[in-house]
Amino acid sequence: MVGTVTRPLPAEVAALFSGVRTRLWRDRFLQVVERVAWLALIVEAVAVAIHLSLTPLSVTTVPLLVLGAALAASVATMLNQPRPEDCARYADSALGGHSAYRATLEASDGRLTGSPLALDWLRTQTRGAAPIALAALSRAPMPAWPTASLVAAGTGAVALGLILSLPGTRPNPAPRPLTKTEAATSTSLAHPSAEHAPALDGLARQAGAASPDRAAGRGEGRPASDSTGDSGAAKGGAESAGAGAAGGREAGAGSDSTTRAALSQILELRSRRHALESGDARAGGTGVADFAAAPNSVGGVAPMVAAPAARPSPRPRPELAGPVQSRLLARYATLREAEH
């Protein structure tokens, strides 16, 4: 009586499995949607944190990332369709099959051994019960869309877009501590000793007298000071004042050309010192130009110190700090020797 009997799946049961497969597919898709929505919310939160604390992110990066993940999950869901075993298990548990559909499936696969009597009765029972189960399946409420997670993810996306589009959300990096030599140099520039003060004042007065020439020199030096991006450009910025001074020397009196060049170097160094104090390692070409453009700042020390602090903090270029500073310090030492 007992033996392996392979029989095709009854049509009624096959139809039921088809309906169950559709339902399971939809269930899985909605589950994936919900998971992707929560995942998107997490990604958005992480993106905001990164944008605000570490590095600015592009507005399009995060949505593309989320969209890619959602697309991959959807495709995976579509490709991973429910197996007949899953359908049978669902029909048994949710549609009152009491393991009959699993047994029918196993019998159709030839995996279930038993007497033909029992298999016949099983087949008869499932054929009679399958249409009823299919009707019950169609009456059962469809799973709802995961609105909560979708709304949360959408709100997060809007907030993320707003935050990423805001400018200047990244804080300035902490200022690099000055070395002992740099600190000494800065101090001597910001607070000239009584020994050097007259010489500096004299140089400043000469510079005020030669302002048209300096303006002309600035006109030539501006492009170099505006150029940014590589070390060569930075060097150009650092030397822009020198270039401007050289232009003035050619156009003005030749006797004080050395003095004006020295003054330009000093002004540049002072501007550089303020840049270092504010954590800005960029060469002070711009600072020189701004200072020179200010009409009431020529010849005074205090306005020269205050001016860079009032400016918005320029973009830091720490990669230029070392060589430029050393060059400036070398020039300053040369000037001091000449002064002495």
């Binding site: 048994d92 009491h98 009959a100 279930l112 038993g114 009597l117 009765w121 008869t124 029972q125």
Partner: protein, 330 residues
């Protein structure tokens, strides 16, 4: 439905349902016990009934035998009950017979044997009963005497008055398919009992619904019930979960159990579940069948640790927790 009326499974369902209903009418207020008794008998097993005196254990056994049309016998166990009193013995033959001695069958040669207060019999007598239960035969003086079929032992024991008793050893307990605990009937059942059995013994007057041959056919039909791979795995998982030193032991079993269920318990579980499936009108086993028979199959086959007993852990509660975990893991 009429097209399927000739199915043996449907007929079996009707007959077994009718048997349970008839038993319920005789033994009032013990519906679950009545059904379990039918299941155990159809599965070819033996039943240990535990309950206080006066709950109708003897009455139940008689009613079952009467409804099934089977021969029944009753043995009241006492410490001086000898094995021969159970199995029978050789006596002098009548004059003129070929053999000088003939074997006189004992009460064990009934189809439904009620062994009252089995724990009052000595271990020697209990062992004699053991062979009859397990082998379906009696060996006397080198000769084997097969027992009639079907053969079912319904043994009772009293959970109180344990003085002077010989508790059944674990090996003998394992021979019983079911251990049923008979509870007090509800007030409504007690009220109905007054109408049924106040002045009469309905168990002695019941009309037989089946006969021995039909019972054997039904037992054979139950053996044809299908068992899917999932149900096999589930049954194995349940038994393995009770074995405290096994690889699939549950945390509860590891903590509280000294011994778990045996492979014989697994066989009994599936055999009983088959009958439950037939009573439900199916030709295949469902998880629900396994679950419904798990408690009576397992409750006398697991042994608590001493610590657990001192903590007041109850076998019933422990098994129900195990079943809950098992059900959740399906």
């Amino acid at each position: 439905m009429t097209a399927h009326a000739t199915s043996p499974f449907e007929r079996a369902q009707r007959e077994l349902s009718a048997l349970c209903a008839a038993l319920d009418r005789v033994i009032v207020g013990q519906d679950a016990t009545n059904r379990a008794l039918v299941v155990a008998l159809m599965a070819g097993g033996h039943v240990l009934l535990e309950g206080l005196p006066g709950l109708g254990k003897t009455h139940l056994a008689r009613a079952l035998a009467g409804l099934l049309g089977l021969q029944s016998a009753r043995v009241q166990c006492t410490p001086d009950l000898m094995p021969n009193d159970l199995t029978g013995s050789e006596v002098l033959a009548a004059p003129g017979s070929a053999q000088p001695f003939v074997f006189r069958h004992g009460p064990v040669f009934a189809q439904v044997l009620l062994v009252d207060e089995i724990n009052r019999a000595t271990p020697r007598t209990q062992a004699a009963l053991l062979e009859a239960m397990q082998e379906g035969q009696v060996t006397y003086a080198g000769s084997r005497y097969p027992l009639p079929r079907p053969f079912c032992v319904l043994a009772t024991q009293n959970p109180i008055e344990l003085e002077g008793t010989f508790p059944l050893p674990e090996a003998q307990l394992d021979r019983f398919l079911y251990k049923l605990k008979i509870q007090y009937p509800t007030p409504a059942a007690l009220r109905a009992l007054l109408d049924v059995s106040l002045d009469a013994e309905p168990a002695t007057t019941v009309a037989a619904l089946l006969d021995a041959d039909r019972v054997l056919e039904l037992m054979a039909l139950c053996r044809e019930v299908l068992l899917t791979e999932d149900c096999k795995r589930a049954a194995v998982a349940l038994i393995a979960a009770t074995q405290p030193t096994g690889p699939a032991a549950s945390a509860l079993a590891t903590r509280h159990l000294r011994y778990g269920a045996s492979p014989r318990a697994l066989q009994g579980l599936v055999r009983a579940a088959r009958v439950e499936a037939v009573i439900a009108g199916r030709s295949h086993i469902d998880y629900a069948d396994l679950e419904s028979v798990a408690l009576p199959v397992l409750r006398h086959r697991v042994l608590l640790k001493l610590d657990a007993e001192l903590e007041g852990v109850d076998v019933e509660t422990l098994l129900q927790d195990l079943l809950r975990q098992w059900r959740a893991g399906l």
